[in-house]
């Protein structure tokens, strides 16, 4: 019985994995460039600091669940209104909930990445920037050759955390009926009536996925250890 439920659960969850990966990768990739640029601006200009700060605070203060409920009750009618006003012929209510989920996850990830890169750019030593200027680098070169590569390196541990948090956030997409891993595990629970096995396996799937992500980041980070500390191969559990 239990073994049977176990197999059924795994069979049900695995087809949800690609969607979970999409819900992680797409918002992350979309948010990366604006996150780096806005994080840089936030670390520099006063106006940019406050504007991006307001954005970050807004998303840090609203539970993701609430954003999802919002998006689901408000966005479709807003879009439909817009479509009607502009005479578009799209059926707004036929838009896949996956897009709504990606939108919500994107806005939250962007807020996280702005903070990650703000602190990474702030950690770039001012004296190395000055050395580049003294050597005749144009400001754009200072950014590309000195600030950006160093910020990239400093950001890695926090970027790993932001990615893991994104995976965890993506579980909430089931509330929008997106059949990613959590949504599929609920179906499995309905089939087998063995909720503990269903959610136990689901939890392990997320933990394994996050472990793989952390390991990948650790591998990349390990390559920078010599630059940061001068000795090769120091690595720790995140």
């Amino acid at each position: 019985m239990a073994a049977n439920a176990f197999v059924t659960t795994i069979r049900e969850i695995i087809p949800g994995l690609p969607l979970t990966l999409v819900l992680t990768a797409v918002p992350l990739v979309l948010a990366l460039v604006p996150g780096v640029l806005l994080g840089y601006l936030r670390s520099r200009g006063r106006l940019a600091y406050y504007l991006t700060g307001a954005y970050v605070t807004l998303f840090r203060s609203l539970p993701v669940v609430l954003q999802i409920l919002f998006a689901y009750s408000w966005l479709p009618s807003l879009l439909a209104g817009l479509a009607a006003a502009r005479g578009w012929t799209v059926d707004v209510f036929a838009i896949s909930p996956v897009w709504y989920a990606i939108a919500v996850l994107f806005f939250n990830t962007l807020a996280a990445l702005i903070e990650v890169y703000r602190s990474a750019f702030s950690a770039v030593p001012a004296r190395e920037v000055e050395a580049a200027r003294a050597a005749g680098f144009a400001e754009s070169r200072v950014f590309i050759q000195v600030r950006l590569p160093q910020a990239f390196m400093f950001a890695l541990p926090n970027l790993a955390s932001a990615t893991v948090n994104l995976v965890r956030m993506s579980a909430l997409a089931y509330l929008m009926t997106v059949p990613e891993m959590t949504g599929r595990a609920r179906m499995a629970a309905g089939l087998t009536f063995d909720t503990i096995t269903a959610y136990g396996v689901l939890l392990l799937a997320y933990v394994a996925l996050c472990f793989l992500i952390d390991s990948a980041y650790d591998l990349i980070y390990g390559r920078f250890m010599r630059r940061l500390h001068g000795t090769a191969g120091v690595r720790g559990l995140t």
Partner: protein, 250 residues
């Protein structure tokens, strides 16, 4: 070759530099000494146009620059003619020693990569660091890092080398190797403007000494005149503090 006229820099209400004028001839070595907070670093940074001055004029051969508003083109032109060696080395920590030099030549001076690499290897030979070319700055001793920084500053053959206390961040036993490199540059006829508390080195190399205190040049002259026979009490007191006991110049 280079002339600074009436340079003034304010930080808030603090007069970091107060109407400083100086001139350096080609091949000349000028050292700047003076109490901490006297404005020495600020003077060097202003000459390299690293920050706008409140007032001042810089003439560098045929270039004539308003130090308050230098404009992008002149700013880059001046910086490219000057090599700058910092107290804390300021090597790019994410680049190897060799890449540090190549980057400066490629991105600061627009050299092709191949030429830059050849010049970098040559510059590293000059400072006896060929074996450390693939090390990262975090893997170097202070003396090695400062020699790498000098190689980086010299790789593009600047007209003027500026050094800001190049030995004061080093352990005493490491100052010798850096001093040796500077000595060699001097014997090659390099034009230099150097801040140092290393009075022996100043006495040995410099043609002239400027004493900077409270943002003003309080004393200026040939090296032995200033060091052995200071004209103001401040200079005498300052020399008393930095000079190793039992010695008087060279």
């Amino acid at each position: 070759m280079i002339r600074v006229t009436d340079l003034t820099k304010m930080y808030g209400s603090l007069r970091a530099l107060d109407g400083v004028s100086l001139a350096i001839e080609k091949g000349e070595i000028v050292t700047v000494i003076g109490p901490s907070g006297g404005g020495k670093t600020t003077l060097l940074r202003m000459i390299d146009l690293l920050e706008p001055a409140d007032h001042g004029r810089l003439q560098f051969d045929s270039l004539d620059v308003d130090m308050h508003r230098p404009g992008r083109t002149k700013k880059l032109a001046v910086r490219r003619r000057i090599g700058f060696v910092f107290q804390q080395f300021n090597l790019f920590s994410h680049r190897t020693v060799r890449q540090n030099i190549v980057d400066v030549l490629c991105f600061g001076h627009g050299w092709p990569k191949r030429d830059a690499e050849a010049a970098a290897d040559e510059a590293l030979l000059d400072v006896d660091l060929a074996d450390k070319r693939d090390a990262y700055p975090a893997e170097l001793s202070g003396g090695q890092a400062q020699r790498a920084a000098i190689a980086r500053a010299m790789a593009a053959r600047p007209d003027l080398l500026i050094l800001d206390e190049p030995t004061s961040a080093l352990d005493p036993e490491l100052t010798g190797e850096v001093a040796a490199v500077i000595r060699r540059l001097a014997s090659d006829g390099m034009t230099m403007l150097m801040v140092t508390h290393h009075v022996d080195l100043a006495a040995e190399l410099a043609d002239r000494v400027l004493v900077l205190a409270d943002g003003r040049i309080v004393e200026e002259g040939f090296v032995h005149d200033v060091l052995d026979n200071p004209q103001t009490d401040r200079t005498a007191a300052f020399l008393e503090r930095v000079r190793p006991p039992g010695r008087s110049g060279l």
